[in-house]
Symmetry: C2
Subunit: 406 residues, 2 copies
């Protein structure tokens, strides 16, 4: 599965990104994605009980399983904004729909940025006025840049595949860094394809892909107020509509999965201040749920993550983290490997050369494999180290303004 | 309840602290506490499934509810050390018992430091040889200094009270910093009193006190491999043995509770790199368990804790953290106050002056009160901010040695 590191919008899609002066930096901060023909829509949203106004609105609209456009702003999350926030989110879709000649119920809206501040609606309105004439079939990259906040780079990819003998394009853009869950910053991902897909099956395909990608770097239920994945499929490729029974169904789903995993890993790599990506594999737990619990306990341990930023391979912190996880652990059965080097054998030091372990830990990407020897449960979680830059970014994420943000 | 910031050993107790060259720094790293008469013992231990050899041994011995001595080393945790580790822990107690003329089953042992390395038994043996002749009724402070690792200050306190008209002394020392649970560093606490207490009731008194002190700064089940609290009561004060029915029982338990809470807060204040102590109060959750879950979710949020290290009162991160907690939250009912200033009213900004909120957040100690308005459940958790120094301490906690630690 080749993932091209570019955005090629599928047929009948256009996109734009502009600066609307919502970010103080003056950087691009609004994006618009449009399908020029009716499209099937699917979505996945945060399970946080505190949901942004935009998520609430999208949750209502996705029930119809159709959509035409997605309007996005960065710099303001429109979360914890009450009834006014909901009215503003709805107004964003109505303004966009009006300019595009669409039903507002076919327009989705996403916001990312600071919580608790009402959207600057005059700027939003002006932004939408700029976005519509800027829509281009080549506008994907501008859109991808416009949805970023603390991201060090925009995240996107394209897969080309053949469905029913027809060339199909699948493209996606995402934003998100600081995947230091359970406190992750907002993650947004927008996928577009010109394949025709049956509505319920598009949702199934997306839900499955999210499970093995974004949810591998983030705990279910531990998401931000705004996390959103939206997928539009407009059928312009002319294939026979994809369903679970279609001979190319698996191929399509694998492409979706590969693309979402690629973006999820790009987010981890872009973890605020992160210098490396670590895949934590737990094998032979009593079951998959416990394997997942143990892997997340390690991946979320601040002591483990700070140790990865240093030189010393501190496997004791890994033992500690699995020990307090919800997974059953029998200390005397545990093996831990750094890459292919066994550091812990049956719960105690395997006598590995600490410099060899350190060299593994210094790689930009490495694997930690934990064998619990209690059953057949397996799980992998992707995470990153935590160093000084994380603190730099998060201590002063918002500078004190001249007056109250309200 | 007056807690004196000193160590006054109760009658018939002696203590010592020496440098045994286990810490590379050459600082004091072994301590010994002895009751010269038989004493009742109680204990509380980590619930981590990965337990140090010392915790395993103490768990066996505490069943007898008696004890005479506690020998401690810092610089090496004797955890993940297998059968050899258990033999070494046992040998520490046997060597100590022999030098003191005691039964080794009356000797407890605690270790704190790096995980996964066998104890340097020659140094331990030499340390014990130095400790025994150094025992003094005035040796408490030396002992308190010797059990420290990353602590910026030793932690201790004494309460004097009258039981049955007899003067009684209750003293305690503790070590622990980096209460960045669920990844807390090892916490040790040793309490001594000359009061006479019935064995089972001493355990009850200690367990209750731990619940409202050390467990208020640390999640049950999320402790380090070595966490230990031990309490010896030798009856030298000559009071009628304390039981739950004794008229001074409540007074005694309140003193134990006040002393343990004082030490727990000192640990939070000494959190690695912490500059402030924050009390997170959750009120009117559906029940106490959910109140506790919400409070811990806030207290453990890296984004919240880093925001406290900065100037900006980022209450959106608090909303986010309660939203992904296991507690039921109705966003539109939530109030949040910084000190006495209401920042969030019914889920949205209360329009408070951001500089006034910032001034609260800059205090060395402040309160965050979260009112969920769903029931009658309450909980308080004490925590600290996270800044650069935390990362400094934990990225390079262990410097790379010349060769493998094994």
């Amino acid at each position: 599965m080749k993932i091209e590191k570019r955005i090629i919008l599928p047929k009948e899609f256009r996109a734009a990104g502009v600066a609307a002066n919502i970010k103080r930096s003056g950087a691009k901060d609004m994006a618009l994605l449009v399908s020029d023909v009716p499209a099937v829509a699917a979505g996945a949203f945060t399970t946080n009980q505190v949901k942004s106004a935009t998520v609430r609105l999208c949750l209502q609209r996705i029930a119809r399983r159709r959509g035409r456009a997605i309007v996005v702003n960065a710099g303001n999350a429109n979360a914890c904004t009450g009834a006014q926030g909901l009215r503003n989110a709805d107004a964003m879709t109505a303004l966009t729909a009006k300019r595009l000649g669409l039903d507002k119920n076919d327009v989705y809206v996403c916001s990312t940025g600071s919580i608790g501040v009402q959207l600057p609606m005059e700027k939003i309105r002006a932004g939408i006025d700029k976005l519509v004439p800027a829509l281009r079939a080549t506008g994907g990259k501008n859109a991808a840049l416009s949805i970023c906040t603390t991201d060090r780079w925009p995240k996107f990819g394209t897969v080309r595949l053949t469905i029913d003998g027809k060339p199909v394009v699948l493209t996606a853009m995402a934003k998100g860094a600081g995947m230091i869950e359970p406190n992750m910053a907002t993650m947004l991902c927008f996928m577009m394809t010109d394949a025709a897909v049956r509505p319920g099956d598009l949702q199934r395909c997306l839900s499955d892909a999210v499970q093995t990608s974004f949810n591998r770097v983030s705990v279910d239920g531990d998401m931000s107020t705004n996390d959103t994945v939206l997928f539009l499929a407009n059928g312009a490729a002319g294939n026979k509509s994809l369903t679970t029974k279609h001979r190319d169904w698996k191929k399509f789903c694998e492409a979706v999965q590969a693309l979402t995993l690629s973006l999820a890993l790009s987010m981890v790599r872009d973890g605020e201040g992160a210098t490396k990506v670590v895949a934590v594999h737990v094998k032979n737990a009593r079951n998959d749920v416990e394997a997942d619990a143990a892997a997340r306990s390690v991946a979320n341990s601040l002591l483990v993550k700070t140790s990865w930023a240093g030189d010393y391979p501190n496997w004791g912190r890994i033992m500690d983290a699995i020990g307090y996880s919800k997974a059953k652990v029998a200390e005397e059965k545990v093996d831990i490997a750094y890459g292919k080097i066994v550091a812990v054998k049956r719960g105690i030091s395997a006598g590995a050369d600490v410099h060899a372990l350190s060299r593994i830990q210094k790689q930009e990407r490495f694997d930690i494999t934990i064998n619990l020897r209690l059953g057949k449960g397996n799980a992998t979680v992707y995470t990153c180290d935590i160093g000084h830059e994380y603190v730099d970014i998060n201590v002063d994420y918002i500078k004190m303004p001249g007056k109250s943000p309200t």
